[in-house]
């Protein structure tokens, strides 16, 4: 049984088909990359899986059970958490409270019971992304790189079975990119399953074993980074037709 199975997922916005009959699956412990030119429907696909958008047709199965059409918070509590392309911190709350919101979800309440207070768990998560010193600082005072890490801490605090990272490297300088690459590798070694949407192919290709390519909402290729780099269709999409 696959961890997540997406079957014939379709989403239309008016006349535009943002996601067109896409199927794929991800097994436990995998890191899968999801790439494609701007407007290929990658973020829409994420939103469909995490429940922020409702698909027009198709199903999403998680651990063998259908989660199509559930509310976002229900899906999160089943074990899929996501980050956003543009950071969405809670500006008025200090960094630690930002993470605590995740720890107060029903999923974590059940998991933490008797073992740890939500405060402790939130502090541990901040420590794992290197933000301990900023714990009491309101999120509005944090730098963009810090907010990106805070976003990941918030998603990881849910101890997800599947993590959807939407452009985690966007707006990061080389040092931060390097740091994040290392933490993703560490998360992978810890057994986290991830799907990563990314534009910075160089950073992405180092991380993943399998890549899915979307173009105008359709899946045009799937395979190892090497196969994808050699795939004619993919090169055409990215570079234009070679004549």
């Amino acid at each position: 049984m696959h961890l997540i199975e997406v079957e014939n997922l379709t989403k239309r916005f008016g006349g535009l088909t943002a996601v067109d009959n896409v199927s794929f699956h991800v097994d436990e412990g995998e890191i899968v990359g999801l790439i494609g030119p701007n407007g290929a429907g990658k973020t829409t696909l994420f939103s469909l899986i995490s429940g922020f958008l409702k698909p027009d047709s198709g199903t999403v199965k998680f651990k063998g059970e259908s989660i199509t059409g559930l509310e976002p918070h229900e899906i999160v509590n089943k074990g899929i958490s996501r980050t956003f392309q543009v950071v969405r911190p809670f500006h008025h709350l200090p960094a630690i409270a930002n993470v605590m919101v995740s720890c107060l979800s029903p999923r974590m309440k059940k998991k933490l019971e008797w073992l740890k207070s939500p405060e402790r768990k939130a502090l541990d998560m901040l420590e794992s992304v290197g933000l301990t010193e900023m714990a009491l600082e309101p999120a509005e005072n944090l730098s963009h790189g810090d907010l990106k890490r805070l976003e990941i801490a918030r998603a990881l605090a849910l101890e997800p079975d599947l993590l959807l990272l939407d452009e985690p490297f966007s707006g990061m300088n080389p040092i931060e990119t390097d740091y994040l690459t290392k933490s993703i590798v560490r998360m992978h070694l810890d057994g986290h399953t991830m799907i990563i949407v990314e534009h910075k192919l160089q950073a992405l290709m180092k991380l993943v074993r399998r890549v899915i390519v979307l173009h105008y909402g359709e899946k045009i290729a799937e395979g190892s980074p090497k196969e994808i780099a050699a795939n004619k269709k993919v090169i055409e999409v990215y570079m234009g037709r070679v004549t």
């Binding site: 995490s50 922020f52 509310e71 976002p72 918070h73 999160v76 509590n77 958490s81 996501r82 956003f84 969405r88 911190p89 809670f90 500006h91 008025h92 709350l93 409270a97 930002n98 605590m100 919101v101 995740s102 107060l104 979800s105 029903p106 999923r107 974590m108 939500p118 918030r154 998603a155 849910l158």
Partner: protein
């Protein structure tokens, strides 16, 4: 033994109240208010102070919903009116004492909040404000349909808080004043506790970014409903006390103006703070009922114009709220003081 206990109590008082500007301000303010009656300021000033305390509770209740979760309700008079009318109607038919009827009114408002909140909270932003705006007006027309029960335009009688007659008017006012202060202080403390609890954190997360809160696994609808209901609870408490203070439960408790009062007061004092709505309520009530009537008597036809003009000037001058501005100033002063102390310590070393 006793001395050490007092020493400990004193030191905890210093660290928990005197050293926190907002709390120090609240402490001084409540002492001042509790001392005022000793100076025997007369019936009218006491009337204004009780009214201000009632509006302060009302505004604080609106702030839980709007300042914490960001749901701008413009129909808060609904709960104010329900609290008031329930209490008066129960007295009319069953002669129940008001310490029974006001809690029943609060309970009903709490339940109504769930029924009203469910459709209301499905819409967002300006749409939510418009939908909530309608509810008190609907309730007024329902009340006018059942004139024998609700008294229609005239309203119905509600007894004063002291049931047995041998007392002077001033003694009654004094009793009302102390009860209103007690209610205000207790509800402010409860609201403060809610705001600083874990539930309070979730409320603010909804204000900041509802989508992100959902992505953190929070059932935001549930928490918005909870905020709505808690807010209704305190609004109906204020409403219940209000009708027993004015001796009538009439449609004036449900009119549009009554819905806007807490909004203006909270924004003037500082939205999203505990002290803001209280500061706003006292400033506006004293300005409206006392300053523009007794100190600078203004003819009735100009009263509304000048009153609103002053409010506009105040809001433009302190867009983040008068109360918040004061507390920010105090905190700045405290930082300077702490830095000086640090310097002194360094010099000694």
């Amino acid at each position: 033994m006793v001395a050490s206990y007092f020493r400990r109590a004193y030191s905890s008082f210093v660290t928990h109240i005197l050293d926190v500007p907002a709390r120090l301000l609240a402490f001084l303010f409540s002492i001042l208010l509790l001392v005022i009656p000793l100076a025997n300021p007369g019936l009218y000033i006491m009337f204004v102070l009780v009214l201000a305390a009632i509006f302060a509770i009302f505004a604080a209740s609106w702030d839980i919903l709007a300042g914490r979760t960001g749901q701008l309700s413009l129909g808060h008079a609904l709960f104010f009116g329900i609290g008031g009318y329930t209490s008066a109607i129960l007295y009319k038919y069953y002669m129940l004492p008001l310490w029974v009827t006001i809690p029943i009114g609060m309970l009903i408002a709490f339940l109504v909040a769930f029924f009203v909140g469910f459709p209301c909270l499905r819409v967002k932003g300006p749409y939510l404000s418009l939908v909530t705006l309608a509810f008190p007006l609907i309730l007024i027309s329902i009340f006018f349909m059942f004139k024998d029960v609700t008294g229609g335009e005239m309203g119905i009688y509600a007894p004063s808080i002291l049931p047995i007659p041998p007392y002077t008017p001033y003694e009654l006012r004094l009793a009302e004043f102390y009860v209103s202060m007690l209610l205000l202080i207790v509800s402010s403390i409860i609201i403060y506790k809610i705001a600083s609890s874990k539930t309070g954190i979730l409320f603010v997360s909804i204000l900041d970014d509802e989508l992100a809160a959902k992505a953190s696994g929070i059932n935001t609808t549930k928490y918005k409903l909870l905020a709505f209901a808690i807010s209704a609870l305190f609004a109906s408490l204020a409403g219940g006390f209000y009708v027993h203070f004015l001796r009538t439960a009439g449609p004036s408790a449900l009119v549009l103006t009554m819905s806007f009062f807490p909004v203006i007061m909270t924004i003037l004092g500082g939205i999203g703070t505990i002290y803001g709505p209280l500061v706003g309520a006292y400033i506006l009530t004293i300005l409206d009922q006392y300053f523009l009537k007794t100190v600078v008597p203004i003819p009735d036809e100009l009263h509304a114009a000048i009153y609103t003009a002053i409010v506009i000037v105040l809001v433009i001058a302190w867009p983040r709220g008068v109360g918040r501005w004061c507390v920010d100033k105090l905190e700045d002063m405290q930082e300077v003081r702490e830095e000086e102390i640090e310097k002194k310590i360094k010099r000694k070393n």
